[in-house]
C-alpha cells in the first residue's frame, strides 16, 4: 500500500510561476527557462509512490531539487502544480489542497521532519526538544516527558535528558533531532541530509542505527542525501534527480547495474558495489545436469539435485559433504558447501569465502538451486558492476 503518492509535482520559484510552463512544454530546460524568464525550476513533473514502511532515498547533486521535493511533502514549500496525497492512520490526506488548519493538523500528527543542521531549540533541554511535537499535540507534561525519555533511550542518549543542545556533540544533537522526529508518532518521517554534517565514523554509526530503528518501528521514511554510498546502504529504493527532474528510480542494485543515463552512470562510477550486488545478479544461472543429477560448479565441487531441482547433497572431490547456509559459516567445523539466498550481498559472500573455503557457493531459493557463485563471478560482478553487456 502506498504511503505517499506524488503526482505531477512542479515547483517554480519566482513571480508568476505560470510563465514557465509554456517554455517547459516546448522542451526548454532549467537553465534556458531561467535565462528567458528569471524563474527557477525547483522540481519538474515528479511522480512516484512511496510504499508503507519503505525507506525511499532522493539523491542528486547540489541544486538538483532534492530539498524542494522533500519540502513539498509537508508543504514547507508550496508546489506550483501537482498533487501529493499522504496515507496515514488509515486515512487519506490531500496535502496539496489542505487549508491552513488541516495542513497544521497533518504536520502535527501525520508527518514529521529531521533537519540537516539539526534545528534543535537552543532554549530547551534535550527532553523538552524531543517532547516538542507532543507539546504541540497537547499531550500533558507528565506523559510527554515519559515518552520523550523513552525515545531518548532508543537513540542512546540516556543520561543527557537535562542537557542543552549546545552541550552535545554533533552526532548527539542529531540523535536528539531523530528522537524529536520519531516522538510525535507520525507515520511519515522526512529527513533532509540528516547525517551530512557529521564525521564519517559517526555517520556510519547513525546509518546503522537508523536501519535498526526501521526494523523495530513501522515508519515510512523519505530520505534526502547527496552521498551515493549512504543512498545505497539505506535505500529500499532510490530516485536520482538532475536539474529538477527525476532521471531514474529503482532499487540500489538496479541503479548500479543498470544506470539509465550518463549522469547516473557518472554517479555510480566510484560506488562500491559489493554491498549492493546480490548473489542472484552475479551468479552463473546457466545450469547443466550431469548424468547422475549433479550440477558441476568447478572441477571438484558438485551439487546433487532432485527432480524439482532442490539441493540434496554436496560433493567435494567425490566425497559427500553437507550444504550449509553461509550465514553461520563461523560455527562450521567440518567440510561443507556453502549456500546463499538470492539476496545475499556480494560482500557477505566474499567474507565467507575468505575465512571458510574458496569453493563456489550455491545460490538457493527455497532450497531450489538457481545458480552458483565462483571467484570469476565475483570479480566480474565487481569490475562490471553486474552489467551484462
Amino acid at each position: 500500500m502506498p504511503s505517499i503518492e506524488i503526482e505531477g509535482v512542479y515547483k517554480i520559484f519566482g513571480e508568476e510561476p505560470e510563465r514557465a510552463f509554456d517554455l517547459i512544454s516546448e522542451g526548454y530546460g532549467k537553465d534556458e527557462v531561467r535565462e528567458e524568464t528569471g524563474l527557477v525550476i525547483g522540481v519538474q513533473d515528479i511522480s512516484f509512490d512511496i510504499q508503507n514502511n519503505e525507506l525511499f532515498v532522493i539523491m542528486g547533486l547540489s541544486g538538483s531539487g532534492k530539498s524542494t521535493l522533500l519540502r513539498c511533502v509537508n508543504r514547507l514549500v508550496d508546489p506550483t502544480r501537482g498533487k501529493i496525497v499522504l496515507h496515514a492512520d488509515g486515512n487519506d490526506y490531500d496535502i496539496t489542497s489542505a487549508d491552513k488548519e488541516s495542513l497544521r493538523e497533518i504536520r502535527e500528527k501525520q508527518v514529521s521532519m529531521v533537519f540537516q543542521n539539526f534545528a534543535l531549540f537552543p532554549h530547551r533541554t534535550v527532553v523538552n526538544n524531543v517532547a516538542f511535537g507532543l507539546e504541540i499535540q497537547g499531550v500533558d507534561k507528565k506523559e510527554r516527558t515519559r515518552k520523550a525519555k523513552e525515545l531518548i533511550e532508543v537513540v542512546g542518549l540516556e543520561g543527557f535528558g537535562d542537557s542543552y543542545p549546545s552541550q552535545l556533540s554533533g552526532g548527539m544533537q542529531q540523535r536528539v533531532g531523530l528522537a524529536r522526529g520519531l516522538a510525535t508518532g507520525a507515520d511519515i518521517l522526512l529527513m533532509d541530509e540528516p547525517f551530512s554534517a557529521l564525521d564519517p565514523l559517526i555517520k556510519v554509526q547513525m546509518q546503522d542505527e537508523l536501519l535498526d530503528l526501521m526494523e523495530e518501528m513501522e515508519r515510512t521514511i523519505l530520505f534526502v542525501t547527496h552521498d551515493l554510498d549512504e543512498a545505497l546502504k539505506l535505500g529500499d529504493r532510490i530516485t536520482i534527480m538532475e536539474a529538477g527532474q527525476m532521471v531514474q528510480k529503482g532499487s540500489p542494485e538496479e541503479i548500479i547495474v543498470n544506470p539509465k543515463t550518463e549522469y547516473v552512470a557518472d554517479f555510480v562510477e566510484n560506488a562500491d558495489p559489493s554491498d549492493v550486488l546480490r548473489a542472484e545478479t552475479v551468479a552463473t544461472k546457466d545450469l547443466h545436469l550431469t548424468d547422475n543429477n549433479r550440477i558441476r560448479m568447478n572441477e571438484v565441487t558438485e551439487i546433487e539435485v532432485d527432480s524439482n531441482n532442490k539441493a540434496v547433497q554436496g560433493y567435494i572431490s567425490g566425497t559427500p559433504v553437507p550444504i550449509k547456509s553461509l550465514v553461520d559459516y563461523e560455527n562450521l567445523t567440518e567440510d561443507a558447501i556453502l549456500s546463499s539466498s538470492p539476496d545475499t550481498p556480494l560482500s557477505t559472500i566474499m567474507r565467507a569465502r575468505l575465512s571458510f573455503s574458496s569453493n563456489p557457493i550455491v545460490v538457493l531459493k527455497n532450497n531450489e538451486v538457481i545458480g552458483y557463485v565462483t571467484e570469476q563471478n565475483i570479480l566480474q560482478g565487481l569490475l562490471e558492476k553486474g552489467r551484462q553487456d
Binding site: R104, H123, R124, Y164, L190
Partner: protein, 330 residues
C-alpha cells in the same frame, strides 16, 4: 574580567553625560538672560516654522490635555507607589564612636534581590554597599527617588518596547512604520526631549518620567525586533513542521530563541533610563541628578561629586542585575 571593564565603561559614559549636561545648564541659562539684555536686530524669517510649531504645540496642549493628564497620573501613581514602598522600609541608626551610622533595611533587601537576579554574590554586595553609602552620604532620599524614577520609566518603556519590537519583528509593515520614529527618537539631542515634556507636563517628576520613557523606549524595540528577525529560518521551519500555529510559533520558538537579544534591549533601556533620569533633574525631577545640579550651581564640587558617585554605583547595580538575566538560563 572584561565584563567588569565593559560595564565600567558604561558607567563612565553615564556619569560624563550627566555631568556634561548639568554643567552646561547654568551657561545655557545665563546665555539666554544675556541675549535678552542685548538688543539684536530682528532676523528676517520667511518660513515661520517656529510659530507654526508653537501653534501645533498649543493646540495639542489644549485639545489632548486629558490624555496627557492620564499619562501623568499613571506615571505618578507608579512612581509614587514605588517610592513610598522603598521609603517605608525602615533605617536603623546606630551610634558608633560618636557618629550616627545608618543601616537601611532596604540595602539588605536589595542585597538578596540582586544576588538572586544576577546569580552573583558580588552584585548583591555592590547593592548593599551602594545603599549603605548613599544613606551615610545623606543621599538616601535622592537615591531612592532616582531609583524609583528609573524603574518606573524603564518599566513602561520596556512594557511598550517589547511588544512593539515583536510586532516589528513579524510584520514588515509595522517595521517600516516604526523605524523612522525610532531613528527620530535616537537622533534627537537629549535635552530636546525635555522641552515638549515641560510644555505638556510642567515641571517635576512626571515630565522627567515621560522624557525618560521616550528615551529608553528605542533599544527595547530595536533589539527585540532584531532578535526575532535573527531567529534561524531552520528553527522557524522546525516549529512549522511540527504543526505550530502562529501563536505557538511566536511563544514557543521565536520569542524564547530571541530572548538573549531581548534581554540585552531590556538592559540598555534601563541604562538609558537611568542616564535620562539624572538629566531630567534639569526640569525638576529631583533625585541624585538634582543634587549634582545643585552642587554645580552653587559651586559645591564635593556635593556634586558624591552625588555623581552614587549615580555611578546605581548604574553599576542596575547593569549587573539585568545584564545576567538573559545569560542565566542559557
Amino acid at each position: 574580567m572584561s565584563y567588569f571593564r565593559d560595564s565600567f565603561k558604561k558607567m563612565v559614559v553615564v556619569l560624563l553625560g550627566a555631568f556634561g549636561w548639568v554643567s552646561i545648564y547654568p551657561f545655557m541659562a545665563s546665555a539666554r538672560v544675556g541675549a535678552s539684555l542685548i538688543e539684536l536686530p530682528a532676523k528676517p524669517v520667511s518660513i515661520p516654522l517656529a510659530e507654526w510649531t508653537v501653534a501645533v504645540v498649543d493646540w495639542l496642549a489644549i485639545n489632548i490635555e486629558p490624555f496627557f493628564d492620564f499619562i501623568q497620573l499613571v506615571l505618578n501613581v507608579i512612581n509614587d507607589a514605588l517610592l513610598a514602598a522603598i521609603q517605608w522600609i525602615p533605617i536603623f541608626v546606630v551610634k558608633i564612636a560618636g557618629l550616627d551610622i545608618r543601616f537601611p533595611v532596604w540595602s539588605l533587601i536589595l542585597f538578596f534581590l540582586l544576588w538572586y537576579l544576577s546569580g552573583e554574590l558580588s552584585t548583591g554586595l555592590l547593592g548593599l554597599i551602594t545603599v549603605w553609602l548613599s544613606a551615610n552620604f545623606g543621599l538616601y532620599i535622592e537615591m531612592t527617588e532616582t531609583f524609583a524614577l528609573t524603574l518606573t520609566a524603564a518599566f513602561i518603556a520596556i512594557a511598550l518596547g517589547i511588544p512593539s519590537g515583536i510586532l516589528a519583528g513579524i510584520s514588515e509593515t509595522v517595521n517600516h512604520m516604526i523605524r523612522p520614529v525610532l531613528d527620530l527618537m535616537q537622533t534627537m539631542p537629549v535635552f530636546v526631549y525635555l522641552i515638549p515634556a515641560v510644555i505638556f507636563f510642567g515641571m517635576g517628576a512626571a515630565p522627567g518620567a515621560v522624557a525618560t520613557v521616550i528615551f529608553a523606549y528605542p533599544p527595547s524595540v530595536r533589539l527585540t525586533n532584531l532578535g526575532i528577525r535573527e531567529v534561524p529560518t531552520e528553527l522557524v521551519e522546525a516549529g512549522q513542521a511540527f504543526g505550530c500555529n502562529y501563536w505557538q510559533l511566536l511563544t514557543k520558538v521565536q520569542i524564547p530563541v530571541a530572548r538573549p537579544s531581548i534581554m540585552q534591549g531590556v538592559n540598555q533601556s534601563i541604562m538609558l533610563a537611568l542616564s535620562m533620569a539624572v538629566v531630567a533633574a534639569l526640569i525638576g525631577a529631583g533625585g541624585l541628578g538634582g543634587e549634582v545640579v545643585r552642587g554645580i550651581q552653587r559651586m559645591r564640587v564635593g556635593q556634586g561629586f558624591v552625588a555623581g558617585l552614587s549615580v555611578v554605583f546605581t548604574a553599576m547595580i542596575l547593569d549587573r542585575a539585568t545584564a545576567n538575566i538573559g545569560a542565566r538560563e542559557e
